[in-house]
């Protein structure tokens, strides 16, 4: 079967009068979409009438098609332009918003799938030094986006805590001096967290994110502790502690921790258990993330990896369980992939998610800074370098200017390769308004930054998630739950008003 789906056999189509559209056949019904993010689900007979120009003006369907830009003679240009801008506004914002600082490559865990290409805790030579940290912050503030999010990554960033503290203070001072909006986030495994560190992070409004793959045996198998011992109880303990603090003190509500879950082969049969754990901890969301064959995961793919179809089945089953919990009042947990895509599809807005946008986030939306000051198009690009291929390096802090980074041949190649208009299959896909292509992933998987979409696991996975959501959007009960999620959703983190201002941070500290 065609990945894009085909026309019904023998259908006589008349393109005259049809506006620009892509379609996807779901059997009894067909999804229509257009560049401007407008969409419509048509029963098959209506789709056939639409294609053959047999929808009379007196038919309510005619008005429906016209209002969404599917009839070429009835286009409301200002409305469609506004809609297009609303969902692709990121293309008009200069410079990256997300800056990932790898303050050390050292880590005290040896995760099966580690994307981050970590090294042993004894390798202090992979710590970012103070001078590089300062130059990195200076470079970040030389980029033109009015909003800046600095995300501390590693390795385990708490192993280079003094530099984390310095960057927090220095970046806050620079943001205040330049009247720039600053968001700070720390990705850590909680095993080295202390009360003092937590107090500092709270006082300085640094949001905290961790990894939680599920029940102890699963988490510990995926993410073994160096030297033995169980990592999962520490994660659960700190998550619970921070959640309790937030509940007890409304001023700390802003810093509710989030957790990321990575799906390995061992996770596939355990979706319900994983969701139950997240729900029991009071987590607002769970992010069912597929494993990427990048970094160490590529080497052990035969042990922990799976086919894209396996992930899509896991996703659908687990999403249905989450919807069941919501429908029966047993839980209110939301799924993050769904939130990101529904924000695009239903609200027509951009949720600021770098992996699903075009051109890709690489350089235009995000940058990653290695401990040694080298700049990469993304954290995944940095990991490819760690495996010995520096293709995705686009500069060095203190040496190259923002304009040199932006104009780097690799930056331009990533932008061109991820333009879905020029991708032969993506340009015709019904999900084009909301999807994206990832140059680093495709370089790793298919040795091409453009990729080959008919055989791309990236495409298969995301198409599967889109399909799952579209099918459920037709179910009134699921739609009600999705709508309620969107009201609660906080996934617009970049422009989220609940993130405190710098003044509020100052007042709190």
């Amino acid at each position: 079967m065609s990945r894009l789906t085909s026309l019904p056999a023998g259908l006589k189509a008349d393109p005259k009068g049809l506006g620009p559209f892509n379609f996807r056949d779901f059997g009894a019904w067909v999804l229509l979409t257009n560049d401007w993010g407008r969409w419509l689900m048509l029963d098959k007979p209506d789709f056939e009438r639409f294609l053959s120009g047999r929808v009379p003006e007196s038919d309510p369907l005619h008005a429906e098609l016209a209002s969404r830009g599917f009839l070429s003679g009835r286009l409301d240009f200002p409305d469609l332009a506004a809609s297009y801008l609303k969902q692709t506004g990121f293309r008009h914002i200069p410079g990256p918003s997300l800056h990932m600082m790898v303050v050390t490559l050292r880590c005290n865990q040896k995760c099966q799938y580690c994307h981050s290409s970590v090294v042993d805790p004894s390798r202090t030579d992979t710590d970012m030094d103070l001078e590089t940290a300062k130059k990195t912050v200076d470079f970040i503030f030389s980029t033109p986006n009015p909003s800046i999010c600095i995300e501390f990554q590693g390795g385990e960033p708490l192993l280079n805590w003094p530099v984390v503290k310095f960057v927090v203070k220095y970046a806050r001072a620079k943001a205040k001096a330049a009247n720039r909006r600053l968001i700070l986030a720390l990705v850590n495994n909680f095993t080295l967290m202390t009360d003092d560190k937590l107090a500092f992070l709270e006082e300085n409004a640094v949001s905290i994110c961790t990894s939680l793959d599920g029940p102890a045996d699963l988490h510990n198998k995926n993410r073994p502790f160096l030297g033995g011992g169980e990592a999962q109880p520490k994660v659960v303990s700190w998550l619970s502690k921070i959640m309790d603090r937030a509940k007890a003190d409304p001023s700390k509500r802003h810093y509710l921790p989030s957790a990321l879950m990575t799906t390995t082969r061992f996770s596939l049969p355990r979706g319900r258990e994983i969701v139950d754990l997240y729900a029991s901890l009071g987590m607002d969301q769970i992010f069912l993330r597929p494993l990427s064959p990048i970094g160490y995961a590529k080497r052990v793919w035969h042990e922990i990896g799976y086919d894209a179809a396996d992930f899509v089945r896991f996703y659908e089953d687990t999403l249905d369980y989450i919807l069941e919990l919501n429908a029966t009042g047993k839980g209110t947990i939301m799924e993050r992939n769904a939130l990101i895509l529904l924000t695009k599809i239903v609200k027509g807005e951009d949720p600021g998610f770098m992996d699903l946008r075009w051109p890709a986030g690489a350089v235009l939306g995000c940058l990653a800074y290695n401990y040694d000051g080298r700049i990469f198009v993304s954290d995944e690009g940095r990991m490819v370098d760690h495996q010995g291929d520096p293709l995705f390096q686009v500069g060095v802090v203190g040496r190259d200017s923002w304009h040199e980074v932006l104009d780097h041949p690799t930056a331009r190649a990533c932008a061109a390769a991820s333009n879905l208009e020029t991708q032969p299959m993506c340009g015709q896909c019904a999900y084009k308004p909301w999807c994206g292509a990832e140059p680093v992933f495709h370089y790793e998987m298919q040795r091409s930054v453009a990729g080959q979409m008919p055989t791309s696991p990236w495409c298969f996975t995301h198409m599967g998630i889109f399909d799952a959501l579209m099918k459920r959007l037709r179910d009134p009960q699921a739609r009600r739950i999705f709508d309620a999620w969107l009201v609660r959703d906080q996934c617009k983190w970049q422009e989220n008003d609940i993130i405190p201002s710098d003044d509020a941070v100052e007042a709190a500290s």
Binding site: T5, L11, L18, L51, A173, A177, M425, Q428
Partner: protein, 182 residues
């Protein structure tokens, strides 16, 4: 020289001479590009790549020779029908795209114009000189503090490892293996 070879025009003889032999399980057919159009034919061939290995030859004006070899798990007998279905969809998709190219460009231009009406981003780059004296001295104090902390941290590492994180993964594994053997 056989009559068949003698009657073949030069334009089609050249690609035929270069043509790679199709696998025994595959199929080869010729498309009339005046009927199908080049873009739809190329599009259909591209979409077949999840099911077949595809090789294309021809003059790209009049004819396209399509060779399809099924990938594992795909029946060769299904490939021709699959290709025809892809081609029919491609014809419509390309016809709609071409007919609406001007409209799409016009809306995109309007969106860009709309974006440019919005207030420009604030000037970037807060140079260190823009920091207040108070902020500069605070940062200098912070740098001194962090340097001291790093020095202390490194000194402590040399003598103590309270969290047990310094031994390498490999060393730990060796220790565990050794223990198990005993």
């Amino acid at each position: 020289m056989s009559p068949k070879k003698k009657s073949r025009p030069a334009a089609s003889r050249k690609p035929a001479a270069k043509k790679k032999a199709a696998p025994s399980s595959g199929l080869v057919f010729t498309l009339d590009l005046k009927k199908s159009g080049l873009e739809p034919a190329l599009g259909a061939a591209y979409l077949m790549m999840d099911r077949a290995w595809v090789a294309l030859e021809g003059d790209k004006v009049k004819t396209l020779i399509v060779a399809l070899a099924p990938k594992p798990g795909v029946k060769a007998a299904d490939l021709r029908a699959d290709f025809e279905a892809e081609l029919a969809s491609q014809r419509l998709r390309w016809a709609v795209a071409k007919a609406n190219r001007g409209v799409r460009e016009f809306v995109a231009e309007n969106a860009v114009a709309l974006a440019q009406q919005k207030p420009a981003a604030p000037a970037a780059e807060a140079a260190p000189e823009q920091l207040t004296d108070e902020q500069r001295s605070e940062i200098e104090r912070l740098i001194a503090e962090v340097e001291s902390e790093i020095k202390d941290m490194n000194a402590k590492k040399a003598v103590a490892d309270p969290k047990g994180v310094s031994p390498s993964w490999e060393a730990q594994q060796e220790t565990q293996k050794g223990g198990a053997k005993e």
